[in-house]
Subunit: 326 residues, 2 copies
């Protein structure tokens, strides 16, 4: 079995690792997350910084996310404001830009990483989630990092934390769609794929787009769900798979599904309710902030099986390395 597939399948275990890391952190430290937080990261870690910023805002704080390089070189264009904390995210803790970014704001620094590393040592606080991955691309560690930090947000804001056992079990259920996903990629040899998500599912659509490029070297796109009608949809036809990540669909999602079908494209809806799609993965109803955790393993499997279908080895993505340095 490819290391990448093995790592995706470790998602349920990753949630438990995340819970332990969170518990250890709150046991050893009385640090609470403040309300105004800037999150930064590169690539997948930037796409992870976005749902964390969104969760912060949603829970009553103010979260802003931006890529490390923009924080380093174009900060004056972004509404960074006067944050009380900078959270820098890097799986290895050795990404040049993530380490450099720590110096960019004169506020307390927090590292979110899988290792004792340059990043964790340079930061004032570190949440180390030891989901050590063999795969070059980030898979279950994304989900685990998100869950661990979400728990810390809840605890810091005086809210109830999630049930880790139950969440882990939900990801196990989500992974049961593997056979169906393999079937879809087997029967429909799509030429491009468009991922759509709104709110907290938008960065998950972005991460899906990136996974598809990394593993399958593939033409993939991601938009805020209804934005796609404004020009982008021109590229969708008989060769296109549209993946609709959705929490609670409403009539616009159904209209959108029909519109793409009218252009010849096929739609895969992943969510709590069908939209009249060609393919449908039914997810249980959970708190909205947990929805990324259910969608992530599914979109990772989709990229994995698309890569296999194309005869590629997802363990050896072209031109990429595990740690990006300058």
């Amino acid at each position: 079995m490819h290391a990448t597939l093995r790592e995706i399948k470790r998602t349920p275990e990753g949630i438990k690792t995340a819970q332990r890391a969170f518990e250890e952190f709150v046991t050893n430290s009385d640090f609470l997350l403040p309300r105004e937080v800037v999150y930064t990261g590169c690539g997948s870690s930037h796409f992870l910084s976005q749902p964390l910023a969104m969760a912060t805002t949603r829970l009553g704080g103010r979260g802003v996310a931006l890529p490390c390089s923009e924080l380093l070189y174009s900060r004056e264009y972004y509404p960074v404001g006067k944050p009380e904390l900078l959270v820098s995210i890097s799986r290895s803790g050795e990404t040049t830009e993530a380490v450099k970014a720590l110096e960019s704001l004169d506020v307390p620094k927090f590292a979110l990483t899988a290792y004792e590393s340059t990043l964790s040592r340079k930061a004032d606080y570190a949440l180390i989630v030891p989901t050590h991955e063999e795969s070059v691309v980030m898979t279950h560690s994304f989900t685990a990092f998100y869950f661990a930090f979400l728990q810390l947000l809840n605890a810091s804001f005086g809210l109830e934390t999630y049930d880790a056992e139950m969440t882990s079990e939900l990801t196990r259920e989500a992974l049961k769609n593997e056979g169906y996903i393999r079937e879809i990629t087997g029967e429909f040899d799509f030429r491009n794929v468009i991922f759509l998500g709104s709110g907290i599912l938008y960065p998950i659509a972005l991460e899906a787009m990136l996974k598809m490029k990394e593993m399958a070297l593939f033409w993939s796109e991601a938009y805020q769900t209804f934005e796609v009608r404004h020009g982008f949809k021109s590229v969708a036809d008989e060769g296109t798979l549209v993946v609709l990540l959705v929490n609670e669909p409403f009539d616009w999602h159904e209209k959108l599904t029909k519109e793409f079908q009218g252009q010849g494209a096929r739609v895969l809806t992943i969510g709590n309710g069908d939209t009249g799609a060609d393919y449908f993965i039914d997810l249980p109803k959970v708190d909205e902030l947990l929805t990324p955790i259910l969608h992530l393993p599914i979109i990772q499997l989709l990229s994995y099986y698309k890569a296999i279908k194309r005869g590629l080895n997802p363990d050896q993505p072209r031109f990429l390395s595990k740690v990006v340095k300058w």
Copy 2:
């Protein structure tokens, strides 16, 4: 001549129209833009909302941009804060979501549009820039809207406005690259294109990506410049054109250019200084907030000539209409 090409070539005239619209607005109204502004739009208008938000922040205010549909349906995830004004942008002024978005925040409303329209009538204030375009896709009106609003920002914040005559002349100079752009698209039949920009040039990269899809039905991508190394670059090879939009290049831009060339891709640098690229368009040094105005006609020409090369009619983009309604 295609209407789309004609409209691109009207950019110098559009700047003058914008200046007149700005002057008329300040003559007829003593309204000044506040410091905290939320900008919204769909598609190209959303990509226009971003440099406007960035300019607002850069000039000492706080600008936040988000697509209309996210403002309507997922607002709670974005750090909207307590803005003093909502600016809704729509070329026609009849886009369903742009009109609906006006109702989403309980603050004064401002319309940026080309017509007396539903949007302008529903808003408290309207800056009407009458750049009426025959083309389905938004071209010189994007540049004109940006310039008119930038002038209003400067005037509102007590800063010097730009010289419209000179700016118009600069766009005329930029358009002189038409022959070279035609040459590039003629000699290099690229299979995909990646636009890169940082800060205020990032949304221009996004707009370039959209133009390419609308006109040329083409695999196009856009990233914050240095983000591209974090996974996305896997899709770049002998068939790829990388377009680097840059103000003042430094050594990382040169390294990035070399890295892509090492993967077999060709690089087109558009900016004030070469990066060792395969193709180079030299732009004059201007105030950073004016750089989008120089880049826009060039990237529009690139999409236009790619469409022609592919045998498509840019005046009739597939599946698209001038005004998007629900």
